[in-house]
């Protein structure tokens, strides 16, 4: 985690470093805003590997496909979820489920692409992730750390695609990594930046206009600002009360969710939390139970905190993976990839709570769910909730106009 920054020391060096930027005072007002006037955020909990819908948000107990998983009641009337999530069940006045998501891709890489972007992989065009669109349309101008942050190890973090690298997620694969990064930009930073200034000036000679286009100096300034910003303290959870840390749980996903809450609090536009282990081709029931034991307290505490701090209405939560898993249980007690009829847990951001969209067949005979929802439909809904026009067209680098999302909004959620 980022260590405490000696702000006075940094301001001294910033003044003397010759980089032609004026460092603004860190604006803590952003963090103080609440409710409707607050900057909107997207929070994606990515369950990497493809979580089983039957052991999470769409159980079918006592059916041919349900396995040993039991269902429990939730705070919402008539909604039951799998038994591994009792604390999340209590939060269902704020949550809804889409149980009929369909994607055309059943391979991890292609599936993740399709679910992250709402488009099938295209060899000649990289589509932006939903997060990149949100960060582009609703950037937080007061923020001194990146607009899109991806926490936890994850092969497919949010990408800018044709919107450009500047909308790639800033990845913090392991909490604590940033501390080591920070360490090298320390005592001798002024000399280093002085040196860099001399070299940048030499390089600009005879190509000033084209060098300006590279955004090199701009990025250097952004990074210097970021590494020394008060906002970067959001990565640090040591000062959180022990009771809070306990509530999130002593697990990677618990700590990551707590960091996620702090990032949302300082106004980060898009936060992605990745949790791996959901590719349960073998011992599905045991494995999901172990994962649920970590995810349940972490996500429930995160939701409770966001609600208690009046951040829930301005934060839209999506919890999903690249696909679901087969209704059929294989001989190794596992479930395989299943992109036709899987679930997404969602809520906040002005979406209606306590709602279920679509359903899957408890007999496992039908290969398509009732009222199927394409990923693009889900993203059209999310963009609409953010007040972003899903039909907005962006001209790609090869001159092809593309819509942000080509779906139909899910009226039941808006």
């Amino acid at each position: 985690m980022l260590p405490d920054v000696n702000r006075r020391h940094f301001l001294q060096f910033a003044a003397g470093c010759g980089l032609s930027f004026a460092l603004p005072g860190t604006d803590l007002r952003a963090a103080a805003r609440r409710g409707a006037e607050r900057h909107k955020s997207l929070l994606v909990i990515w369950l990497d590997g493809g979580p089983s819908q039957l052991e999470t948000w769409d159980p079918h107990p006592s059916s041919r496909v349900g396995g040993p998983t039991r269902a429990i009641a939730t705070a919402a009337k008539d909604i039951e979820i799998a038994e591994g999530f009792p604390r999340i069940a209590e939060k269902f006045e704020h949550l809804s489920i889409v149980r009929s998501l369909v994607s055309p891709e059943g391979d991890h890489a292609r599936g993740a692409y399709a679910v992250k972007t709402g488009y099938r992989p295209d060899p000649v065009l990289r589509h932006p992730s939903l997060g990149a669109i949100v960060a582009r349309e609703l950037p937080n101008p007061e923020l001194e750390i990146p607009q899109i942050i991806s926490l936890g190890y994850h092969q497919w973090p949010s990408r800018g695609g044709y919107l450009g690298n500047r909308y790639d997620a800033f990845q913090v694969k392991r909490l604590g990594l940033t501390a080591r990064q920070r360490a090298t930009l320390d005592a001798r930073e002024q000399r280093k930046l002085d040196n860099l200034n001399i070299l940048s000036e030499s390089f600009a000679r005879g190509r000033r206009a084209i060098v300006a286009d590279t955004l090199h100096d701009e990025h250097v300034q952004t990074v210097v600002k970021m590494l020394n910003s008060e906002h970067a303290k959001a990565f640090q959870i040591d000062d959180e009360p022990a009771a809070v840390q306990t509530a999130y749980g002593d697990s990677d996903v618990g700590r990551t969710c707590l960091v996620a809450r702090r990032l949302i609090e300082v106004g980060v536009s898009v936060v992605e939390v990745a949790m791996s282990g959901f590719d349960t081709h073998e011992r599905n029931f045991l494995q999901v139970a172990a994962l649920a034991a970590q995810l349940d307290p972490a996500l429930a505490a995160l939701i409770a905190d966001l609600v208690a701090r009046d951040l829930w209405e301005s934060t839209l939560l999506l919890c999903l993976g690249e696909f679901g898993r087969t209704p059929h249980i294989n001989p190794k007690d596992g479930r395989d990839h299943w992109p036709s009829g899987f679930s997404c847990l969602l809520g906040g951001g002005g979406l209606r709570g306590g709602t279920v969209v679509g359903s899957t067949d408890p007999s496992g005979e039908k290969t398509k769910p009732d009222a199927p929802v394409k990923v693009a439909d889900l993203y059209t809904t999310v963009l609409s909730a953010f007040g972003i026009d899903p039909e907005k067209k962006v001209v790609t680098p090869i001159g092809r106009p593309m819509k942000y999302s080509e779906g139909t909004p899910i009226e039941a959620l808006l």
């Binding site: 292609r110 040196n195 070299l199 000033r208 955004l215």
Partner: protein, 547 residues
């Protein structure tokens, strides 16, 4: 128990190898001072390319005259040398290389060095890696079905032998057998490993990789600009319709038909193989993939030669002559043919010289645009950028690709050149480091020749990440420490730092700046001064952009 004996034994062998290698390598201490006598280099490759280069240069010169453009001045030779090692080895030059190049006082040393580099195994390995990314994409291995390294190793071997490129492509399209054994089979198995509908994906990949045509979009709809119809695409896919995989590897299931679902009626339809243009090049009734391979590489198929010429140009300059690299205009249409005339010149020379990719690269790097400066008085204002860049009247400023950054960081760790015959431990460590770097830094895969800018993540990685740190603090044998501790003049110390990182000597202002730091530093802090100079150079736009 066995492993207990084996472990120390292999360590000892490893140490022995390291010892021998460091004993035989050039003596690093000597490299910290300017070199003395020239070093003879042997040529292993023909260089009768001057007339075609002249022809190409004349074409550019008349284009510049017609557009009223003054081209940039010739670039400094060290700068061109840096471009060459970046293009052919994927790395900045070593201090060892620069010293030898500087000491070479023979005529036309740039061309001779280019020829020498092209004959070096490192070049074949690097070009094979780049072409593998272009042909297979950046998909991860899927053992035992697909191994990327197997394809690259095979391709590298073919390039080293000077195998005709058209023959390489025919082998790639028609490969059979186990992908773990047959290198070219991995082109096909890469798509099979991704699941159903591999025939359509292979058709798209074949057209893009070998013909510079984006025909894939016709999978769902007719091409927006070109004359590709859905039927053209499905007909092309049908050539891969019999490709199948069994436990014995890839084979053709003769008699099987290519079936697709009609999107409107949802009925299964049989699709017969057909090609989107020049069906008269389809000569015989051989197996389907053989027919396709012969059609793709047909002597009259200009698209085939243009595609590789454009890609090699892209690899040498960092951006293709015609962008995007795989969407070339129809060479048979008079209104678009002129845009790719240069690619015809390059392609024809390539075909006339044994389809040798190294020849194509040599002609490209010998052309005048490759040797122009990347500075120009008019580049101080934004308006002139477009016309100068479009006409290649100035060398383009292009951000280094991920592998170029990681290899250059590795090269900057040491004053000696990284060798392809370094011992296996060193090479394995280097490859592992590059892989980790690429994961952290992000790479564009098959879109690597597209225009791009850097991200904040990459900047953080360079400014404060572990890889930069490791390049600078690389221990007793590392470049920083050697330079800081060398018993040389301070000026030589600054010079050597600039040559290691930026492949040039400092300007007066830069030298004064760093000399002042060295002089005012106590002996114990000298290393810190050199490290901070290295940090700045590695983070400078000059390091990160090809210029």
């Amino acid at each position: 128990m066995k492993s207990l004996i084996h472990a120390p034994l292999s360590c000892l062998i490893g140490l022995a190898i390291c010892g021998v290698v460091s004993w035989t390598a050039a003596r690093p201490q000597a490299l910290l001072r300017p070199a003395g006598s020239p070093v003879a280099r042997s040529l292993g490759f023909s260089d009768d390319h001057h007339s075609i280069v002249r022809h190409i240069d004349e074409r550019f010169e008349s284009r510049w005259r017609d557009a009223g453009l003054t081209p940039a001045e010739p670039a400094d030779e060290f700068q061109i040398f840096r471009r060459l090692t970046l293009a052919l080895f994927g790395s900045i030059p070593s201090l060892e290389d620069l010293r030898e190049f500087e000491a070479d006082d023979g005529p036309d040393r740039l061309t001779r060095w280019a020829v020498t580099m092209l004959s070096d195994d490192r070049c074949a390995d690097y070009l094979a890696e780049r072409l593998s990314v272009a042909f297979l994409g950046d998909r991860d291995n899927d053992f035992p079905g697909f191994r990327r390294e197997r394809f690259a190793a095979w391709l590298s071997g073919e390039l080293k032998q000077g195998r005709h490129y058209d023959e390489i492509v025919r082998q790639t399209i028609t490969a059979t057998g186990q992908p773990t054994v047959s290198g070219p089979a991995n082109f096909l198995s890469a798509e099979i490993a991704q699941g159903d509908q591999y025939a359509t994906r292979l058709a798209g990949r074949t057209a893009r990789a070998f013909l510079g045509q984006r025909i894939d979009c016709a999978e769902c709809h007719d091409h927006p600009f070109a004359d590709w119809k859905q039927a053209d695409f499905q007909g092309l896919a049908a050539y891969f319709g019999q490709l199948a995989r069994s436990n014995a590897g890839l084979y053709d299931a003769r008699g099987r038909e290519h079936m697709i679902e009609n999107r409107k009626t949802q009925a299964e339809e049989t699709i017969a193989p057909c090609v989107p243009f020049h069906p008269e090049w389809l000569a015989d009734r051989s197996p389907r993939r053989e027919q396709l391979a012969k059609w793709v590489t047909h002597p009259d198929n200009r698209r085939f030669r243009q595609a590789i010429a454009n890609r090699v140009w892209g690899l040498m300059f960092g951006k293709p002559y015609f962008a995007p690299v795989d969407d070339l205009p129809d060479p048979d249409q008079p209104e678009t043919a002129d845009a790719t005339k240069l690619l015809d010149l390059l392609g024809d020379d390539f075909a006339a010289h044994g389809f040798d990719v190294r020849r194509l690269a040599l002609v490209t790097v010998s052309s005048r645009p490759f040797r122009l400066a990347s500075t120009h008085p008019q580049l101080e204002s934004p308006e002139a950028i477009g016309p100068l860049n479009t006409a290649w009247a100035v060398f383009p400023l292009v951000q280094l690709r991920t592998e170029q950054v990681s290899r250059s960081l590795q090269q900057a760790r040491t004053v000696q050149r990284l060798r392809s015959d370094d011992d296996v431990i060193t090479r394995t460590h280097r490859a592992h480091w590059q892989k980790e770097f690429s994961e952290q830094y992000g790479s564009l895969g098959e879109l690597e020749l597209d225009e791009r800018g850097g991200s904040i993540q990459q900047m953080v990685e360079r400014m404060a990440g572990r890889f930069t740190n490791e390049s600078i603090n690389s221990g007793r044998r590392g470049a920083c420490r050697r330079i800081a501790e060398a018993q040389t003049d301070d000026r030589d110390c600054v010079d050597a730092s600039f040559l290691v990182c930026l492949s040039r000597r400092p300007t007066q202002t830069e030298q004064d700046h760093f000399l002042e730091q060295l002089r005012s530093a106590r002996r114990a802090h000298r290393l810190h001064v050199v490290e901070d100079a290295f940090w700045a150079m590695i983070n400078s736009p000059e390091f990160i952009w090809n210029h």
